[in-house]
Amino acid sequence: MNWDLLFQLMINGIIVGLLYGVVAMCFVLIYKSTQVVNFAQGEFLVLGAWVCWFFVMKWQLPFVLAFIFAMGFMTIFGILVQMVILRPLIGEPIISVIMVTIGLSIFMQALMNWVFGNSAERFPSVFGDETVSIGGLQVETAYLMSLVLSLFVMGLFYYFFKFSRYGLAMRATAFNQQVAQSLGISVKQVFAMAWAISALVSCIAGVVLGLVNAVSNSLAIIGIKVFPAVIVGGLDSIVGAVIGGVIIGLLENLAEFFDGQFFHIGNMYTVAPFYVLIIILMIRPYGLFGTKDIERI
């Protein structure tokens, strides 16, 4: 047993997992308020990264400014997407809405390929290539920033849903749009807000990922990758999303450890989380923190 390696992999798992958690939160946010599963989440994230990259590279803006601009851009983008694409579908069967987000992801993927090209582009190093050593593992500063950021955003979301008026409105909208309307909640506004926030947070996650791994359209697969995280945590739980993310991150790394050290099967890294996902769901059908449906008859 190579304890040192195991330990480092676990730290790596937690850090990567927290990033999954942030993306997972974006999912949960949209799901919780609109019941929509956003298949274009990954593309949102990449778009955010590209836009920031564009501002830095082409407009030569300082990074912080570019980052802020990118967040602003994505917020507006989220609202636009909601207005143009999702608003007409308010009240339609949920599966059609899901399909629309799939269409959106196809569209965005192609558009970004066209506009930004399909190769990976480097961000100029912002934090240098600085790394910090945690328990012997070198970790990029950008990742650590994302860790702090994600905890902060998580707290914000939690507060938002639990206590703010709009948080309540979002939950009510998710429960039943007609009921929400009857209470004077503007479903359109709620949707726009959910998408705006989600796009904004995706942008943060995208830029972080871009800083570490270079920006490329293939980063969008993280959109699919966080599904297990969301489900393990429970679809409608913010805290669950983060914990789910960490679990998936850990699992990936543990799988890599056992595979690399003992089994040599290869590719366990990508599949193992899915096995565990099924096992967790068989034990807890609503994930670890998801709310059970109320089933009365």
Partner: protein, 354 residues
């Protein structure tokens, strides 16, 4: 799936219950379908290979989409792993034939049955999971099976894939598109008949009941676990059948053909065609298969007009595919079949609505 009335034209009174449970709602509709199938028998005489090959693919995808529609449309369980079952059927048929030498003609339905078994195993979580939780569990089966394909050298040829023999029927090699067309047509007709029949008999009704209100369905005597898992079985059967037909059409099976993208395409087919509608599955398959081709044409014409977008053609095509899906759902979120029903309803009720 919304509530559209099902009016019948005046004068079409049903005089027996058997007439009332017939496959087609009107005589005209029935004859249209019979004539359509009859006409299809002669299409290879009039169309070139390209069109035939498109029809073959439509037929194959329609069979698999039909299976998915049983699962999603009838039982209401979203699956993101349908292409893995499609792939399993493809590999299974090739493997059966390569290892046992059973004639391909027979391997195809057998592969369907093998896929049924696999589908039911992966359907076990359905007994406990609902909605999106189940959807993501099926996503897991997608990745698990895909990984299995790329690893199980003995079964699938691993990452390299494996060859699938030409179908031989009564001594005739079905090695041209024209010949293969009839094989696919046969299975399309059989599958669509079977599912139409299922829809109007006991177990099909039970599946829909489970979708609409599983709590009361259970109290009406329907065993939820059994039906939820069986619906995975039935759906996988058609996926496997379609996959097997696909394998022997391409004569080569490779894991790359069966990714999540194809699963999503299957979903798109049934949503755009019409959830729970048998004929919608076919319409959806036609739509999704022809859309990229059509957009390719559009992009090519655009490339001729505007200089310098030749290289970007592929992206323009993809973008239009995404855009059309979005636009379609915005304007017809309940599918092609719904639009058709609405047209029919307003046409028959006009001017005396209710």
């Amino acid at each position: 799936m919304s509530h559209v009335p099902h009016p019948r034209p005046c004068g079409d009174f049903r005089t027996s219950y058997s007439a009332d449970t017939s496959l087609f709602r009107t005589k005209v509709e029935g004859w249209t379908v019979y004539l359509g199938i009859f006409a299809l028998l002669f299409t290879p005489l009039f169309f070139n290979d390209f069109y035939i090959s498109q029809m073959i693919l439509i037929g194959i995808y329609a069979i698999a989409a039909l299976g998915l529609n049983v699962l999603v449309g009838f039982t209401g369980q979203i699956s993101l792993g349908h292409s893995a079952f499609f792939g399993f059927g493809a590999f299974a048929s090739a493997w059966l034939n390569n290892t046992t030498g059973i004639p391909v003609f027979i391997c195809i339905p057998l592969a369907g049955l093998m896929t049924t078994a696999i589908g039911m195993i992966f359907g076990i979580p359905a007994a406990r999971l609902k909605g999106l939780y189940l959807a993501i569990a099926t996503l897991a089966s997608q990745f698990i099976l895909q990984d299995f394909f790329s690893r199980a050298d003995w079964f699938s040829g691993g990452a390299y894939g494996s060859a699938a023999e030409v179908v031989n029927f009564l001594g005739i090699d079905l090695d041209t598109d024209t010949k293969y067309f009839y094989l696919v047509l046969f299975w399309v007709v059989v599958s669509f008949l079977a599912v139409s029949n299922l829809r109007r008999s006991r177990d099909g009704r039970a599946l829909v009941a489970v979708r609409d209100h599983y709590l009361s369905a259970e109290i009406m005597g329907i065993n939820l676990t059994r039906y939820r898992i069986m619906s995975f079985g039935v759906s996988s059967f058609f996926a496997g059948l379609g996959g097997a037909l696909y394998a022997h059409y391409l004569q080569y099976v490779s894991v790359e053909g069966f990714t999540i993208l194809l699963s999503i395409q299957f979903l798109a087919m049934i949503i755009i065609g019409g959830l729970g509608s048998v004929s919608g599955s076919l319409l959806g398959a036609i739509f999704i298969l022809l859309l990229p081709q059509f957009m390719e044409e559009v992009a090519s014409s655009a490339a001729m007009v505007f200089e310098g977008i030749e290289q970007s053609k592929a992206y323009i095509k993809e973008m239009s595919v995404g855009a059309v899906i979005i636009l379609f759902l915005i304007f017809e979120p309940e599918g092609l079949i719904h639009r058709w029903r609405l047209i029919r309803a307003s046409w028959k009720l006009y001017p005396f609505s209710h």
